[in-house]
Symmetry: C2
């Protein structure tokens, strides 16, 4: 069997599975559309499955859109079982580590979460035809409109982990690249879907808008450590959440094949 | 469709594909055996596909054997098309980065490769029933016997990358956790499969046997930088090849779901 036949057969299975699942999504999303000539570029000889692994392992960096040929593949992945199962595995690994720690319980045992595509999912936005699961160029205007609706569902595996970490006695710190101007709608959205409490919810100030996520988040983590917090775990969907300095004792990568942030 | 049905269907496709491929392997390997009660532990709710992604993203660390239920999954992956395609994607990403660099060509532009499961493949060894693609405990004695045969094939994608990096003008440094006592057979094996030249081939001294791979490799990279080398790329199948200090300008993770080295 040729690799292409294998991929096609795999996709043939994945499509009905994901369409069935669409009804389960917390927010109603568009059904999969036929592949259109939008977005990125084909990488010769690299299948979409391999492209996704290369993205998840940070081998492919600084990409701007999902390769056009992978739009349906990424859509099927994100709407199907596998994305949820991969998030569950990340959550399981994190909890398995966390429950083995002996916390000091002095209010300084911290677990850091990113927000977008980690605590909250923007999948209802990315599934829209104008975004095509990341195969179309990022649109700052429509994304901000979506953010202002405050309708992002939780990533179920991460919400579940969050609740269990709270029970273990962790203090939760959210560090997000979202603008400080979105604080009230972000707080509203987070609480609505089940993130009821946190030690800090750190958003990006206007003065920090020129810095990369990696530099900005490293600075925020440094400030936390200088304030006496111990970063025991750190979880995000971008490697820029998990690299740089002061990354914490352990990092956990949540899958995200839809966009890249440096 | 339930996740289990999806996984079973996927495996049903993957099995014939991998059996067909077995004949293409550089060294003759054993056909896939039925799943037996050997090795690791099941992780509740985590499928083998998700386990592999969690391993590749370093979410699951310090594991000692492949979970028993994933022995066939890992075997099919390693013998089938997907492992080769994933290696190709890692090689492609590395070359795409490397060709964009302006080298000084003063003999100090270095690319680092690990050896086992990066430059050379021990798949013929791991495919043996007594190793079960990593689902059985590591056996130091039989692995050393296999190393002393000097029969490891190259990982094709990495050999191809190596040749192209040489043409671009890189100096190649291999850093391996193999023992210095294996130098002559390693050199023989490397040259036989096509790695004809290198700046340095660094093996582990007896005095270094107590250190972890991450500490040992960080020390070797530090020594390279102190000697004036610039580490522009660094490629390995273990995160311990790519983390620690002096990791280089870019790192590239080669897939390996068969074993973990700290």
């Amino acid at each position: 069997m040729k690799p292409t036949s294998l991929l096609l057969l795999f996709l043939a299975i994945a499509v009905p599975a994901s369409l069935t699942l669409a009804g389960d999504m917390p927010n109603k999303i568009h059904p999969l559309r036929p592949q259109v000539g939008s977005g990125g570029h084909h990488i010769p000889g690299v299948s979409c499955q391999s492209w996704r692994l290369a993205v998840e392992t940070d081998n492919i960096k600084d990409w701007d859109v999902v390769p056009m040929v992978c739009e349906n593949y990424v859509g099927n992945y994100m709407l199907g079982h596998q994305y949820r199962k991969d998030c569950n595995a990340a959550g399981w690994a994190a909890y398995d580590y966390a429950k083995g720690l002996t916390l000091k319980k002095d209010g300084k045992d911290v677990w850091i979460f990113d927000i977008d595509e980690t605590a909250l999912s923007n999948l209802p936005y990315y599934a829209r035809p104008d975004n095509a699961f990341g195969a179309k160029e990022y649109n700052e205007t429509t994304f901000k409109e979506w953010e202002l609706e405050g309708k992002a569902p939780a990533v179920p595996a991460i919400l579940y982990l969050y609740k269990r970490l709270l029970k273990l006695g962790f203090k939760i710190v959210f560090i997000s690249g979202k603008s400080e101007s979105l604080r009230s709608i972000t707080v509203y959205n987070m609480k609505k879907v089940g993130y009821h409490t946190w030690e800090k919810l750190i958003l990006k100030q206007t003065s920090e808008s020129g810095t990369t996520a990696m530099v900005y988040k490293s600075k925020k983590r440094k400030e936390l450590e200088e304030a006496g917090y111990r970063i025991l775990g750190n979880m995000g969907d971008q490697w820029s959440d998990l690299m740089g300095s002061h990354v914490g004792n352990r990092t956990f990568k949540v899958p995200n094949p839809m966009f890249y942030i440096a």
